[in-house]
């Protein structure tokens, strides 16, 4: 068959693509590097990444509205600081860190008000009840009861599948801190699931 004639050819080692990368056409209409450029870039970034970042915030906070607020603030912050970005490929890591910071702030406000960890109307709604099985809801409830740092480490390591080094970068802590926070988080979630079963 014709397909058999197509061999592997010489294989080369390829480097990993960067996480955010624009082709030249995005800039062709911009004649200055001012706010118009920032808006174009930030809008394009929003189109490409807002949903995934909102999902990250939703997993952290358990509340979709709060998650979207955090993401909007993160993109607005990026827009304001656009001219200070050394490299457009730094935008996504900046946004992710910004979203995590925003989540921490939201969680701190909740605990200062004495409220329970965000219950998440979106995740407790009738629709979510249908979409999320009972087992998932039990796991999520356990995750939401974790201290902030443990929750963050757990989400970065197991939701985003980050390595310990990547999670340490995103959380601005040492690798050892990520390791111990993750380990404690797993143990705590395991205990809570056992108690609840």
């Amino acid at each position: 068959m014709a397909g058999d004639a197509i061999g592997a050819g010489r294989r080369a080692t390829f480097r990993r693509p960067v996480s955010l990368y624009y082709v030249d056409h995005v800039d062709t209409e911009d004649t200055d590097a001012g706010a118009w450029t920032a808006e174009r870039h930030v809008t394009a970034l929003y189109q490409a990444h807002a949903l995934s970042l909102a999902r990250l915030a939703l997993v952290m906070l358990g509340d979709a509205a709060a998650a979207e607020d955090v993401v909007q603030d993160a993109f607005f912050g990026l827009y304001r600081r656009w001219h200070r970005l050394a490299d457009v490929s730094a935008a996504l890591p900046y946004l992710r860190t910004s979203v995590l910071n925003g989540c921490r702030t939201a969680l701190r406000r909740q605990s200062q008000r004495g409220a329970l960890p965000l219950a998440g109307p979106a995740l407790e709604s009738a629709e979510a009840t249908v979409l999320l099985g009972e087992e998932h809801r039990a796991v999520l409830a356990a995750v939401r009861r974790l201290p902030d740092r443990q929750r963050e480490a757990l989400v970065l390591r197991y939701y985003l599948d980050m390595t310990e080094d990547q999670a340490a970068d995103a959380m601005r802590v040492s690798r050892g801190t990520v390791k111990s926070a993750t380990s404690r988080a797993i143990a705590a979630v395991g205990r809570m699931l056992k108690e609840g079963s």
């Binding site: 050819g9 390829f14 996480s19 990444h49 509205a65 197991y158």
Partner: protein, 440 residues
């Protein structure tokens, strides 16, 4: 027993998937932007993000929508493509198929299906060349596979992927960004790519050159992997030593994103396996079922079987509803004199050969109907299906002469084929010798 880590992974991802869209981005008007027409299209003031009510969670699988700023450049979300409407836009890779001389396409072309007009030309970054394109169901979202290091006779194996979103009427008309999907290992060859209908997941099928287990029919392992478009995370993978994928392997999702259809050849057969995308296993064969297969003859154009059959087909197309397989078919040559290569492509005389498309059931594997049959006095060369409507009532395909490239003059039929009806379309600037060189 599932580990706590796996439970956390599964639960957080399930929770994340409940969020299907985000509200528009609100930015303040840019300072000092008094020039030209730009200010007229901006907000008068900054609208502070308002804490919204609980997000709308769709029960059905819906398209991911990120609405643009409604400032005059706004493009409404693409309306759902009607059940049998032909998509307006295609993305094609001109010149991507010439393995001997020009592996990979230096540009991708966005075109209008009905007018043939080239709307945009997209260039990859750096030394990348485009080798594949796959489309979501919204007629706006595509993923382009690229590779910077192909040398002939290499197949079209992608090592990086770009997300292309069409935004007609706004700015450049499209946006492109490189996806965070990791490059495959050096001995991993990506053969087929399929973007999920909602544009959130990318399925890749390929072949890895690994040592052969004792009971395996051939060396190497074929694999199927599903990645998150947003994060690049590997969501699931399956593999097998019982099948060998190739650049002619086809991969597609059913409309709901529930199943993956893999078409490939083995031991003188062409077939399609259907896999439940949510299955928990990792064995490509045991976790899927053989939905259809046909014996392939691989013989020359002068000794076709009769009646119309898919014996010479290299690939088959599964309709988005998952219920049918459409394959390209050829029939017996009825001429008394066997045409030879180099002779006239359309010898004088009455119709002497036929070509067309057949439709089979994936539930039973049996022939459902002849979708289209074309009697001609020309010697058909390539025949292929490139797109099918959700129910398969319409396909875009071609029937062309001999072994020539696909051009206006070499093509006998290019357009929409439906039951016994053909509607011509302008021939796009693409090739037909490799799959994934054009997508709707």
């Amino acid at each position: 027993m599932t580990s706590v880590e796996d439970q956390v992974r599964a639960a957080t991802r399930a929770a994340a998937e409940t969020l299907r869209e985000v509200r528009p981005l609100r930015l303040p008007p840019a300072p000092g932007t008094a020039r030209g027409a730009r200010p007229a299209r901006r907000f008068k003031g900054w609208i502070a993000p308002v804490t919204a009510a609980a997000a709308v969670v769709a029960l059905a699988i819906s398209l991911v929508l990120v609405r643009e700023i409604p400032n005059g450049r706004a493009v409404p979300p693409a309306p759902p493509v009607s059940s049998s409407a032909v998509p307006r836009y295609y993305v094609a890779l001109p010149g991507a198929d010439n393995f001997a001389n020009v592996p990979g396409a230096p540009t991708a072309v966005v075109g209008d299906t009905f007018t043939g007009k080239r709307l945009y030309t997209v260039r990859p970054s750096g030394a990348d060349k485009f080798v594949s394109v796959s489309a979501a169901a919204d007629d706006r979202t595509f993923v382009l596979g690229a590779n910077p290091h192909l040398s002939p006779p290499a197949g079209p194996m992608a090592t990086a992927w770009y997300l292309l979103r069409l935004t007609p009427g706004s700015g450049a008309g499209y946006t492109v960004s490189k996806l965070p999907i990791p490059a495959p290992a050096p001995d991993d060859l990506v053969d087929a790519t399929a973007l999920s209908p909602d544009g959130t997941e990318l399925a890749l099928a390929g072949f890895q050159d690994v040592p052969q287990p004792a009971n395996a029919p051939q060396a190497g392992a074929s694999w199927l992997r599903v990645y998150s478009v947003a994060t690049g995370a590997l969501l699931h993978s399956w593999s097998t030593h019982q099948a060998a994928f190739s650049p002619y392997t086809t991969l597609s999702w059913t409309a709901g994103g529930n199943q993956l259809a893999i078409g490939y050849t083995w031991s003188g057969r062409l077939g399609v396996r259907m896999l439940d995308a949510a299955s928990q296993g990792h064995d490509l064969i045991t976790d899927s079922r053989l939905a259809w297969s046909v014996r392939t003859s691989g013989t020359s154009a002068t000794t076709r079987t009769s009646p119309l059959s898919c014996a010479l087909a290299l690939k088959a197309l599964v309709t988005p509803d998952g219920k049918k397989v459409v394959c390209s078919a050829a029939g017996a040559l009825r001429a008394t004199k066997t045409p030879s290569f180099g002779g006239p492509a359309c010898p004088a005389g009455p119709p002497s050969s036929d070509a067309g498309f057949l439709e089979y059931s994936t539930a039973t594997g049996k022939l459902l109907r002849t979708l289209y049959a074309y009697d001609t006095n020309c010697v058909p060369g390539g025949i292929d299906t490139l797109w099918a409507s959700p129910s398969g009532d319409k396909v875009i395909g071609y029937i062309r002469l001999g072994l020539q490239p696909l051009t206006k003059t070499s093509v006998l039929r290019f357009g929409v084929f439906s039951e016994h009806k053909f509607t011509p379309l302008p021939v796009p600037p693409t090739t037909e010798t490799i799959p994934n060189a054009i997508a709707w």
